[in-house]
């Protein structure tokens, strides 16, 4: 097994384990860190899986997008940005 295959296997195992933890977790706020772990692991899979110079661009786009998404979900649960000045 080459080092790339080993790395991509570790990444996908982390992603699937974290998805199982999301399924078993009851609290909504406690699900969000595991969602971040899934995003990081899948970013690693995308960066390793295809040897091409533009792959890092797709991985960066997915990283930025998924981080923005989970931040938006957490911010909406917390009540939105407008309540800060009261």
């Amino acid at each position: 097994m080459s080092p790339d295959e080993l790395a991509v296997t570790i990444c996908i195992v982390i992603a699937v384990y974290s998805a199982v933890r999301i399924a078993l977790e009851r609290n909504t706020l406690k699900k969000l860190p595991f969602l971040n772990v899934v995003s990081f692991a899948v970013t690693g899979v995308i960066a390793i899986i295809l040897p091409h110079p533009l792959t890092i661009l797709a991985a960066a786009a997915y990283f930025v997008g998924s981080t923005l998404e989970s931040n938006a979900i957490a911010s909406t649960i917390a009540g939105g940005p407008e309540e800060k000045d009261e």
Binding site: V16, T55, S66
Partner: protein, 77 residues
């Protein structure tokens, strides 16, 4: 793309689908939908469509934020 990665991404997609259908809270549904998207993107990259993968990875959070606009307005009342 070897068999382990294919099976792992298919598992991510199936987990995301089942959880999105079965959850009751809207935020839990959005989190599960994000897991589903995380399983779909490596399939697109493995086929070699890197431009489409980039565009899709940027569009998917956009539609989630549109859905959150409804939930935010409902939470304000």
């Amino acid at each position: 793309m070897n068999e382990v990665v294919t099976a792992g991404c298919a598992l991510l997609v199936l987990f995301g689908t089942t959880l999105t259908i079965c959850e009751r809270n809207a935020f839990d549904k959005l989190i599960s939908l994000s897991v589903l998207v995380a399983g779909v993107i490596p399939f697109i990259v493995a086929r070699g469509y890197l431009d489409i993968a980039t565009a899709t990875a940027l569009i998917a959070p956009l539609s989630t934020i549109f859905t959150l606009m409804v939930l935010f307005r409902r939470q304000e009342r």
